[in-house]
């Protein structure tokens, strides 16, 4: 039986770290101060979307949970884990109810992004990169998914010009070691071989923070990030 070389490479890449190393960095992201209140969105100009939301949704620039938890923070290894393996699985980015789901999508450079329009209205997907190439594509209802890639690591704002309230982020990273905070604010970066790492936490409005962590073996190191909320 012949197994292609890429196939073996993928197998080794996925299995080996899990089997051989068990270092984990985990923690929680919180904020201090009072975040700016998110504004309700008036979708009156797009009734097909408005009727999908029983109560008006709000902007998602800063999403918080109980106990000062900060959501939508991408925590990733920015140095120490050079990771050139591009995940073969595509990441999905859905437009539904004139909202981006998820609000922040994390991608590896070169990883496929599938853009889905689940709405009954046209959207245009307009990423606004500065390092990568800017493009802008229309996606009317019922059209096939768009498949795109980004070559350079960058946090990219994406918007729909037709529905100006729609705002999302593509976090394009050079690593697969990332975690994005949900309503618990927690993150976990498992399967790390021993070594010195720089951990970066990025939030679309509050910017980035970094911490250095050294993993010596099969251990779990706990670090927390705390962002100072902007009052405006």
């Amino acid at each position: 039986m012949r197994v292609s070389k890429p196939c073996i490479a993928v197998l080794v890449a996925t299995l080996c770290p899990a089997l051989m190393f068990g270092g984990t960095i985990s923690g929680k992201v919180t904020y201090t101060g009072t975040p700016v209140k998110q504004k309700p969105i008036d979708m009156g100009k797009e009734p097909s979307c408005a009727k999908q939301h029983a109560t008006p949704i709000t902007t998602e620039t800063v999403v918080t949970g109980a106990n000062n938890v900060l959501e939508n923070v991408v925590v990733y290894i920015s140095a120490g884990a050079d990771d050139t393996t591009v995940p073969s699985q595509a990441v999905t980015f859905t437009q539904k109810g004139c909202q981006y789901i998820p609000h922040v999508v994390v991608l590896h450079t070169g990883q496929e992004l599938q853009v889905v329009n689940a709405d009954q209205t046209s959207h245009n997907i307009h990423p606004m990169p500065t390092v990568n190439r800017e493009w802008n594509k229309s996606q009317p209802p019922g059209s096939p998914n768009l498949s795109e890639k980004f070559d350079q690591p960058e946090f990219i704002k994406v918007k729909c010009n037709i529905h100006p309230w729609m705002a999302g982020r593509f976090a394009v990273l050079k690593t697969s070691h990332y975690s994005i905070t949900g309503d618990s604010g927690g993150f976990s970066l498992p399967n790390l071989p021993p070594g010195k790492y720089t951990i970066t936490a990025w939030h679309e409005d509050y910017g980035t923070q970094t911490q250095d962590v050294t993993i010596t073996g099969n251990e779990t190191k706990s670090i927390d990030f705390s962002f100072k909320a902007k009052a405006y």
């Binding site: 100009k45 190439r133 800017e134 493009w135 594509k137 229309s138 010009n161 037709i162 100006p164």
Partner: protein
């Protein structure tokens, strides 16, 4: 003899004056700004048989372009603050008028044509006064401002199939597409640039930008990237990068695209065109489009837009 004396006197004055003037000349006034980046990259452009060289455009760029586009090509010339829309920032290497797919670099010909065509509804003049060589030199010079031109190749030019005849059916289908693709959300039901999203539009530098008003001009009205039907076709297939205008390349079939072009021409109500002639011959009204086969129903939203149009 007398004359010679006078000549000599003249020279003396001139020499003295030059001595006094040059120290002042040596220090540039702040308005002049830094000179274009050096050392100059040996960038070339190729337009047909003409090869443009960046270094040859240096002086002319300063003369003709830098006032708006800036010595560094960043769109921050001394006039930029007064202009709307803002001058192109060449360091971003994002260009509106391309023959290539969205997100790719334009071809040298695209830039060459844009310089000679000018950009309507902006302060970019029609620079058709240069020799082809000079214009090609400008193209090469513009390409020195972004490293992208060294790393990437220009995108593949899109293919434009032959234009089918203009018929009232074609116009009618174009109108249905205008509704279905929601062109009207920005351009307005009558193409007057007054759609519901028009007021909120911004370009990639967060500057307000207006959608094109098709009804705005007469016979000499130009569109941003040309005035022929195939140039209109090109605009919505390639998109206008750096603006809210997206590419429809993935979502429209070539024949449908031509139908849309034919309909767009009828939005230019005061312009003489074969499309307007066909429309007039059909009684001046665009009939509702009748679905032929398995296309997704568009009639609902069509009615909505037809209420505003005629």
């Amino acid at each position: 003899m007398n004359k010679h004396m006078q000549f000599r006197m003249g020279f003396l004055y001139l020499a003295l004056a030059a001595l006094c003037a040059f120290p002042v000349a040596a220090q540039d006034a702040p308005d002049v700004g830094p000179h274009p980046p050096q050392p100059m990259k040996p960038m070339e452009s190729h337009i047909g048989k003409v090869t443009g060289h960046a270094k040859d455009a240096k002086m002319n760029y300063r003369r003709y372009c830098a006032g708006c586009h800036g010595d560094q090509g960043d769109g921050n010339g001394e006039n930029a603050v007064w202009l709307d829309p803002k001058p192109r920032d060449f360091t971003m290497a994002t260009f509106k008028c391309r023959s290539t797919v969205t997100g790719t670099l334009p071809t040298d010909e695209d830039l060459f044509d844009t310089i000679g065509r000018g950009l309507t509804n902006s302060n970019m003049p029609i620079w058709n006064t240069f020799s082809d060589q000079q214009r090609a030199d400008f193209v090469a010079y513009i390409k020195t401002f972004s490293p992208r031109w060294e790393k990437e190749k220009a995108g593949d030019p899109i293919k434009i199939p032959a234009e089918p005849p203009v018929t009232i059916e074609s116009i009618s289908h174009g109108k249905a597409l205008f509704t279905k693709l929601e062109c009207w959300k920005c351009h307005g039901p009558q193409g007057k640039g007054d759609g519901p999203s028009a007021a909120t539009l911004t370009d990639s530098k967060d500057q307000p930008i207006r959608p094109y008003n098709f009804a705005g001009g007469g016979d000499d009205s130009r569109l941003k990237c040309g005035s022929t039907n195939s140039e209109v076709y090109k605009i919505f297939i390639t998109g206008v990068d750096g603006t809210p205008m997206p590419s429809f390349a993935d979502v429209i079939q070539p024949n449908d695209a031509w139908d849309l072009v034919h309909f767009l021409r009828t939005l230019q109500v005061t312009r003489h065109s074969k499309e307007n002639d066909v429309l007039k011959a059909a009684g001046g009204k665009i009939p509702a489009y009748v679905e032929k086969q398995s296309e997704a129903p568009a009639s609902q939203s069509e009615n909505k837009a037809a209420g505003g149009g005629n």
